[in-house]
């Protein structure tokens, strides 16, 4: 098995994201699986940013725990990240900018000075070109062929050829050859491993899945880490015929999406927790008017403005309880880019099938980081049924007809003879208000109950129609882990380490966090082995939901709310701790 992690760090404005993407794309084009972590702060310039690209020919589920190559654009990067370097690790830096003494680095780690500024000066005095030389030098150490990294750089300039593109190619080649002449490759250097893989962020996967499932309208207000859903959709708006509306606020965004959906267009909005908090009232309106809607909730660390560029799974309670009163909803929580693509397809289908809002829970860790997918795993062959389901038949059309499933035939405005009012007030089968002059009268009291029952009955259908619980790992585990969303990635990597250490574990992962498939979960979580709940929030929100739905209490929890993603070793350590305690 080959595995390599490259980390690059510097100040905001140093171009770290571009450097990280160049490494990531080079490695994914070599056919390696990859996880690319983009760690940044909520500032445009200044501050410390870093990017980690972890590649392997085995599955890669998280940023991992190890750094093999560190490309440091400033002294702070060495101070912050050098402790993570494993023996055999190499720090690439420019001695013209700062020095690295042997005592600064862990044992067995090598400092490799590369005159990136000097190499770049051959072409221009613009300091940003130093990155091309640094990328070239690091690529050599990583085992990335020069032509691969140069093609990635050339592609990043797109059709904008010219001297800047030429300088980048020249400087990267010079850096590459400098390293070749002055240093041996990393002991973890990788080799090409197969056909190029798709490299995309969770948000790109969500946008792609939504488009594949027939979404034609997106209304959104910018908010990290959800904005790139809109960026991808906007970039493809004309090409794919998708209307993308940047709304004046999140209130408008969700209401516009509901309006477009009522008109018969598959519609979506995306936001983070703060924006979702504003959408809450309209979410209930989608439930009440039985208007299909997909809402992407890309969580970030809260509360309030919180840590805008850091990850958390702290909004599950909000998503579960969003809206006054009760209405059916489902919450899908994919763990990686491929699942995000599929979850978006499913969310659109479920919203239409059950005529109710479907939430797609992401978080910064999934939404903004890079993951690879085999091209063959993405299919655009998604059924998109016509929404013209009913035709006028006399004057008896009932938009909110009582049915066994709770789903009523939906007419679209523009269809003759099927006029109805979609009402946010309680209404009868025809959509007539029962909220004012009829409210409280015996017949209408009973109708209200029937209408609530009809809507809420959709939950039973959703429970069976939404993506099922995934179970991975050992059939007879020493310990069972329960996790959801992007946290599952680090859990999967931790399980690999635990298996290697002779500790068989099992993952129980409800891809649909709500409604919980309790019939499946209960037998999985009541075996004799210890259980560990892993969540990126303070209170263990999935654990609380599980307890309220099943009375199962998972006392052992690994909860993290520092804004940073889980690292596999943290989970391994906690599993060992629980097992050691139980064995005593």
């Amino acid at each position: 098995m080959q595995e390599l992690s490259i980390r690059a760090g510097g100040a905001a404005g140093d171009g770290i994201a571009s450097v990280g993407e160049a490494f990531s794309r080079s490695l994914s084009r070599m056919g390696l699986n990859l996880f690319g972590l983009n760690a940044y702060q909520s500032v445009i310039r200044g501050g410390h940013v870093w990017f980690q690209a972890r590649a392997s020919d085995a599955p890669v589920h998280s940023q991992g725990d190890r750094v093999d190559l560190l490309y440091a654009l400033d002294r702070q990067t060495v101070e912050v990240h050098a402790p993570l370097l494993a023996p055999g690790g190499i720090v690439v830096f420019d001695p013209e900018k700062f020095s690295v003494a042997e005592g600064d680095l862990p044992k067995g780690v090598d400092a490799f000075p590369v005159p990136t500024l000097q190499l770049a000066r051959k072409y221009t005095t613009q300091p940003i070109l130093q990155n091309a030389a640094g990328i070239g030098a690091t690529a050599f150490l990583a085992g990335i062929p020069l032509e691969t990294v140069q093609k990635v750089l050339a592609d990043s300039f797109g059709k904008k050829k010219g001297e800047i593109a030429d300088w980048n190619l020249g400087a990267s080649g010079d850096g590459y050859r400098y390293a070749e002449q002055h240093h041996a490759p990393s002991p973890h250097a990788v080799r090409p491993s197969g056909p190029a893989k798709l490299l995309l962020t969770g948000n790109e996967a969500i946008a792609l899945g939504a488009a594949a499932a027939g979404v034609k309208f997106l209304a959104q207000y910018p908010m990290t880490p959800a904005s790139s859903v809109m960026h991808w959709m906007a970039a493809h708006s004309h090409d794919l015929g998708i209307v993308v509306k940047q709304a004046e606020d999140e209130l408008a965004a969700i209401n516009m999406a509901i309006g477009a959906s009522y008109a018969g267009v598959r519609s979506m909005t995306a936001t983070s927790g703060g924006g979702f908090a504003l959408m809450v009232e309209a979410l209930g309106m989608a439930g009440m008017t039985e208007t299909p809607l997909v809402v992407v909730e890309a969580q970030r660390a809260g509360p309030s403005t919180g840590l805008p560029t850091k990850t958390e799974q702290g909004d599950l309670n909000l998503m579960l309880g969003a809206g006054q009163g009760e209405f059916p909803r489902a919450i899908l929580a994919p763990s990686n880019a491929l699942e995000a693509y599929r979850a978006a397809v499913e969310a659109v289908r479920l919203a239409e099938a059950w005529q109710t809002p479907i939430l797609l829970a992401s978080d910064l860790h999934l939404s903004e980081n890079y993951m690879t997918i085999d091209r063959s795993e993405v299919s655009f062959d998604v059924p998109i049924p016509s929404l013209y389901q009913v035709e006028a038949n006399g004057n008896d059309y009932k938009r909110y007809l009582y049915t066994p499933s709770g789903v009523s035939p939906r007419a679209l405005p523009g269809q003759p003879g099927l006029q109805f009012i979609a009402g946010s007030d309680e209404h009868d089968e025809k959509g007539h208000l029962i909220s004012d002059v009829r409210s409280g009268l015996p017949h209408w009291v009973a109708e209200r109950t029937k209408m609530m029952d009809k809507r809420m009955h959709k939950l039973d259908g959703l429970r069976h129609d939404a993506p099922p619980v995934l179970v991975e790992g050992a059939a007879n585990p020493s310990l069972t882990l329960l996790a959801w969303g992007s946290t599952v990635g680090a859990v999967r990597d931790a399980m690999v380490q635990l298996t290697a250490a002779g500790i068989p574990t099992r993952l129980v992962y409800p891809r649909t966090v709500y409604p919980l498939d309790t019939a499946t979960l209960v037998p999985l979580l009541t075996g004799p082995e210890p259980k560990l709940l892993v969540e990126a929030n303070f209170s263990g929100q999935l654990g609380r939901l599980l307890r309220s739905e099943t009375s199962i209490d998972l006392p052992d929890k690994l909860l993290k709310y520092d804004g940073e993603p889980f690292y596999p070793t943290e989970i391994v350590a906690k599993v060992r701790e629980v097992l050691n305690r139980v064995r005593k």
Partner: protein, 298 residues
């Protein structure tokens, strides 16, 4: 023709029902100004011979926002303050539909004011008719954004101390392209204004003084009857932005009604390139055959 263009799909010569009253009777107080407004909307839509299934009435919450229930068209009775974003979404989903948003002063100028400004600057091609009674009626008589200075209400027992919003000058500043004030005591004029608003290409706004007979004892039918005069009769040129501004500032002994301003400007729907291929609802969806899209991720 795709099934999406339903509203145009009826064979020529087939009589399609025009808008009329629904089987739900209005629940407004006897003498409420909103009766005049619904009569004017019904007259205007009938006059334009728009079949009822091609019209969508969208409202928020408040006494006046119950209006869609009382007519036979499609309707969306949304939550408080959000009639306009819902209406915009409907237009963008199917711009073959005639979309008329209605609601009160609290709904449009209070909780929904942010949306009003943006819908106007976008010049979305829809009609917005407000029933402005300068009071919160459904919640039994609190001050509204258009309550006059000094007015005593349940929430302002010693009198309103905030300057009222002037919807007409707000609309002028925001970029609406058809700006009128109606009075529910003059249904004929109001119907003309609404018909003009519906036929206008762009955001058409009819702020309608629609007295609340129960909770506003100041801005009554008589209050307006004594003060209103018609801009048209006064020789106002609605294409003149400067004089439109001057007239919009008149509020006191004389209150102008009629069309303040009208301009031609491309609508949002005309400028949104995706909609040039026809109503979104009828356009092909999905990515079948677009596998090359994945190349960008390689």
């Amino acid at each position: 023709m795709s099934e999406s263009s339903v509203q145009a799909a009826a064979p020529v010569g087939t009589p399609l029902p025009l808008i009329g009253k629904s089987d739900t009777k209005p629940t407004w107080c006897p003498g409420c100004g909103d009766y005049g407004v619904i009569a004017a909307i019904e007259m205007a839509v009938k006059r334009l011979k728009l079949p009822s299934h091609t019209v969508v009435l969208v409202s928020g919450i408040g006494c006046s926002s119950n209006l869609p229930h009382f007519l036979s068209s499609y309707g969306f009775h949304a939550i408080h303050g959000r009639a306009l974003p819902v209406a915009e979404g409907i237009r963008w989903g199917n711009h073959g539909l005639t979309v008329i948003a209605t609601g009160g002063d609290g709904d449009g100028y209070g909780i929904g004011a942010g949306h009003l400004v943006h819908a106007m600057r976008r010049n979305v091609d829809l009609t917005y008719v407000t029933m402005n009674n300068q009071i919160y009626g459904l919640t039994t008589g609190q001050a509204s954004p258009t309550s006059m200075l000094g007015q005593k209400t349940k929430s302002t027992p010693t009198g309103v101390i905030e300057n009222p919003i002037d919807p007409v000058s707000l609309a002028l500043a925001s970029g609406a392209t058809y700006i009128a004030r109606g009075f529910s005591g003059d249904v004929k004029q109001l119907a003309d204004l609404v018909a003009g608003a519906i036929t206008h290409k762009g955001f058409a706004f009819v702020d309608t003084m629609s007295p609340c007979v129960t909770y506003n004892k100041i801005n009554t039918f008589d209050f307006f009857r004594q003060r209103v005069y018609k801009l048209e009769a006064a020789g106002h040129d609605p294409t003149n932005l400067v004089t439109a501004w001057e007239r919009s500032l008149e509020w006191g002994e004389k209150i102008p009604t009629g069309l303040f301003y009208r301009a031609e400007r491309p609508t949002y729907e005309e400028l949104e390139e995706v909609l040039s291929a026809g109503p979104l609802v009828g356009q092909p969806a999905g990515l079948k055959g677009r596998e090359s899209l994945l190349d960008e991720f390689l």
